[in-house]
Amino acid sequence: MRIAFVLNGKKRALDAPPLARLLDLLRGPLGLTGTKEGCGEGECGSCTVLLDGVPVNACLVVAGQCDGRTVLTVEGLGTKDGLSDLQDAFVKEGGAQCGICTPGILMAAHALLTANPQPGEGEIRESIAGNVCRCTGYQRIVESIRHAAKERASRESG
């Protein structure tokens, strides 16, 4: 079927089987390999993207569900030379180690900070509870998100 949607701010249209996984569309024909596959059953959260602003597992969303909607992936947050404040915080505060879970966690955190600019630690932990990280013990991830929120607040008040 013909699927049209807004991907990282740009209108895109392509032909895809209606039951193709969004994950495969992103990584295949759309060439966005920043979204990772860790388990293929919605448990690890590595493939988290935002569908109309809401975090979803791209391995459990099919192409047909995306028609007419907006999808945001890690490539839509910033670029290597122009990182978003959240991405930058993950680099500075040690939120990424091996990096394979990082794009998914960034998407979950981005959704959190959009809805709740000043989250408490419990809210931060809740927001990434669907994203498994085996490297960090989560503490540096929590600190990275907290750091980004704090920086935003100080920018706005300053």
Binding site: G38, C39, C44, G94, Q97, V132, R140, V142
Partner: protein, 755 residues
């Protein structure tokens, strides 16, 4: 300058957070096929054939069987494991055949159209059956390896001790569960075999490929892709996957990519060895330890893989961080028809540290002593000797770790105010208090501690045999004005921070900024063999070679500057104007006073040890027996933290793996098959399960460590978490659990036997 000791942001960070870092599944080559593996459904049997469904259209499908393998062995410690089974099948999921096809759908159908015909044989599924020789599956006695360590006369000393205690402690499998499954991209050209993959040790793969395809060094290239975690799971296993992908690529004449899905990865790749440790100890009534006798029994699985080395490390850590005048350790690993166990962070030490730490708590219980005080009284100090007779001449920061952990956690107060472990209050009383309808609290809190050590670097003569090498090139910079430097090493970045830390060490020694030091992608045709990325050796051993090579280049440039004048950069450019490339290659030199005898297992088992004290505070729900970790204090002597932020990241991540091993993870194995090989049912900790860590770095420098004394700490944090949790649960509830894991059902079952 002072780059060492600073938490500079990780060098590979921007690409990872931008999603542009290229992992193996993000790569392809024109015309690449996808590959998959046909595996044994049974634990043991004789392979009679492989049936191909004649109704299936085999056009464009490549099938590889044992007949296609030039030399059918995986070259590791022993050559007992075939690349593909040809006769006897020795474990469930053992590779039998390989398939390649154009797309995933064709591939899945082709795989289903192949059926292995296996005549089942009675499998050996337990260590007890292996020892009883229920069937002969390895050598004459099913034993992979045996080690003995002896100091003084343990049997006699225990017999004459006023307090003699015996305990048996078991640990279970653990899956590494790196979030990126294993994967490899293979192709052949006029230069031979090429591989790009997710791996820790490029030269292990290199060795395996040379052996199986009878190639020389120059005709095999192994390149590491950005790797999404390893934890030991990508130490030896990638060699097998690389051989599979290369076989398919050779037969099909096309590049082949093989990416495991999660279930296949959990089923087929190596796990942490299950282990049973029996400890008998003798001490006096005041808690002064005297003698210990330890028996270690490990399940190696179906093939040798790295089991002897894991067993050796288990034995060498079995007596813990304590002074014993008399020690007898016997460690045995046996073969079973279960998927091979192999490297996992800690490499045998977490199993024996679990045992000795639980045993220390047993002694404390018997003597009604404070468990931390008992430990403190018996800690190894500078000037003591270990069970192998190793004289500890420096960098024993364990006393400070205990002091800082005690203070930071509020141990004294919490030990007195929390818990139900006082011997006058048995668990049954506590449980009665919280019976349904009772108004008493239904949750119990407690605090527990562990003290531990981890030998950094290869065991025994390993580093001396290995002779790890590193090269640093001086290169013309892009402007032609400022020279650049490039580190070439086989030590891989797998998330732990190798690239960043090596660049810090080199830049500091060269007196240049970090952006002038590059890190070459580890590829066997480009980098010298620095040895594998394992054994907590990367920073301490390989980092020290980086430092020497950088210092050498600095000295040569400085020498030129003094002769010809100008700045450091002017002098460097003059060196670069010469005919020869400007490069410094250095080989690891084992300190002369580090001496080890493999025959007697006496001497310096490791160049140095890192030390730690973990304290856990938990709350146990007395209805569900769920444990929540309320606080965790990890205080570890790292010698010198090259990058404190990355160092703390290692400690927190490793500690959570240990907590997961204790509280969440359980691999269910029946008839040699894994019943929960998915992330939906093999549960690892999430952000809500993880405690808030208080991580304290103690720095008691090691004189031969880089950057002013760094020690290896990659594995240390895996050692102390589980016993600290068990001790805290015991303090909270009185439930004494000597076996891992500590899942609610385990605590529920153990409450009946609690003292």
């Amino acid at each position: 300058m002072a780059l060492v000791g600073r938490s500079v942001p990780r060098a590979d960070g921007p690409a990872k957070v931008a999603g542009t870092a290229r992992y193996v599944d993000d790569l392809t080559r024109p015309g690449a096929l996808l590959g998959a593996t046909l595996r044994s459904p049974v634990a043991r049997g004789r392979l009679r054939g492989i049936r191909r469904d004649p109704a299936f259209d085999w056009a464009g499908v490549t099938v590889v069987t044992a007949e296609d393998v030039p030399v059918n062995v995986v070259a590791l410690i022993e050559e007992d494991q075939p690349v593909l089974a040809s006769d006897e099948v020795r474990h469930a999921y053992e590779p039998i055949a390989l398939v390649a096809a154009e797309d995933p759908v064709r591939l899945a159908r082709a795989l289903r159209a192949l059926t292995p015909e296996i005549e089942p044989l009675p499998p050996v599924l337990t260590v007890a059956d292996a020892l009883a020789r229920k069937a002969q599956i390895h050598g004459p006695d099913n034993v992979f390896a045996t080690y003995r360590i002896s100091k003084g006369d343990a049997a006699q000393a225990i017999a004459s001790s006023p307090v003699r205690l015996t305990g048996r402690y078991r640990t279970h499998h653990q899956e590494q569960l790196y979030i990126e499954p294993q994967g490899m991209l293979a192709f052949w050209d006029a230069n031979g075999a090429h591989l790009v993959g997710s791996l820790q040790c490029p030269f292990y793969v290199h060795k395996g490929v040379k052996r199986t395809f009878s190639l020389d060094d120059a005709h095999v290239d192994v390149t590491q892709a950005v790797t999404g975690g390893g934890f030991g799971g990508k130490e030896e296993y990638p060699t097998l996957l690389a051989l599979h992908a290369l076989l398919l690529a050779k037969k099909s004449g096309r590049p082949v990519k093989m990416i495991y899905n999660r279930q296949e990865d959990v089923e087929a790749t190596t796990k942490r060895h299950p282990c049973e440790v029996t400890i008998e100890s003798g001490c006096d009534r005041e808690g002064n330890l005297s003698a210990v006798s330890i028996k270690v029994l490990m399940d190696g699985g179906a093939y040798v893989t790295l089991t002897p080395v894991v067993l050796s490390r288990a034995a060498l850590h079995a007596a813990g961080a304590y002074r014993w005048e008399h020690v007898a350790i016997e460690a045995v690993a046996v073969a079973t028809n279960t998927p091979p166990n192999g490297a996992f962070r800690g490499f045998g030490a977490p199993q024996t540290i679990w045992a000795i730490e639980r045993h220390m708590d047993r002694i404390a219980r018997e003597l009604s002593a404070d468990p931390l005080e008992l430990r403190e009284k018996n800690l190894l100090r500078v000037g003591d000797t270990t069970p192998t007779g190793q004289f500890l001449k420096e960098s024993v920061g364990v006393q400070r770790c205990v002091e800082e952990a005690r203070k930071a956690s509020g141990w004294d107060k919490k030990r007195a105010s929390l818990g139900a472990a006082a011997p006058t209050r048995p668990v049954s009383a506590l449980l009665r208090r919280s019976a349904p309808g009772s108004s008493a609290p239904r949750k119990a809190r407690g605090i527990g501690a562990s003290v531990f050590l981890h030998g950094a670097g290869f065991t025994g003569s390993g580093e001396r045999r290995l002779k790890g090498r590193v090269a640093i090139d001086m290169l013309r910079g892009p402007s032609g004005k400022k020279p650049l430097f490039r580190i070439r090493t086989a030590s891989t970045e797998i998330g732990q921070g190798t690239e960043t830390v090596f660049r810090q060490i080199a830049a500091e020694a060269l007196w240049v900024s970090m952006d002038r030091v590059e890190f070459a992608t580890p590829s066997t045709s480009v980098v010298p063999d620095s040895g594998p990325t394992v054994a907590s050796r990367t920073v301490m051993i390989v980092g020290s070679i980086v430092e020497r090579a950088a210092r050498d280049l600095f000295a040569r440039t400085e020498n030129e500057r003094q002769k010809g004048g100008g700045s450091f950069d002017d002098a460097a450019l003059r060196l670069l104007a010469g005919k020869e490339p400007v490069v410094s290659e250095k080989t690891y030199e084992t300190p002369g006073d580090v001496v080890w005898d493999d025959e007697t297992y006496r001497g310096d088992a490791y160049p140095v040890f890192a030390w730690g004290c973990d304290i856990a505070e938990v709350e146990v729900d007395l209805d569900t027996f769920e444990t929540t970790v309320l606080g965790f204090w990890a205080v570890q002597d790292v010698g010198k933290a090259i990058n404190p932020l990355l160092c703390k990241g290692q400690i927190e991540g490793g500690t959570l793996q240990a907590i997961g091993w204790a509280l969440n993870e359980r691999l269910v194995v029946e008839e040699g098959r894994i019943l929960n090989a998915r992330m939906a049912n093999y549960i690892v900790p999430t952000s809500l399960d993880a405690p808030r860590f208080t991580t304290v770095l103690v720095e008691d420098p090691y004189s031969m460590g880089p950057g002013g004394g760094a020690k290896g700490i990659g594995e240390l944090p895996m050692d102390g978490g589980a016993p600290a949790i068990a001790a805290a649960i015991e303090h909270a509830t009185g439930i004494v659990r000597d076996d891992l894991p500590l899942l609610p059902e385990d605590l529920f079952a153990a409450r009946r036997t609690g003292t």
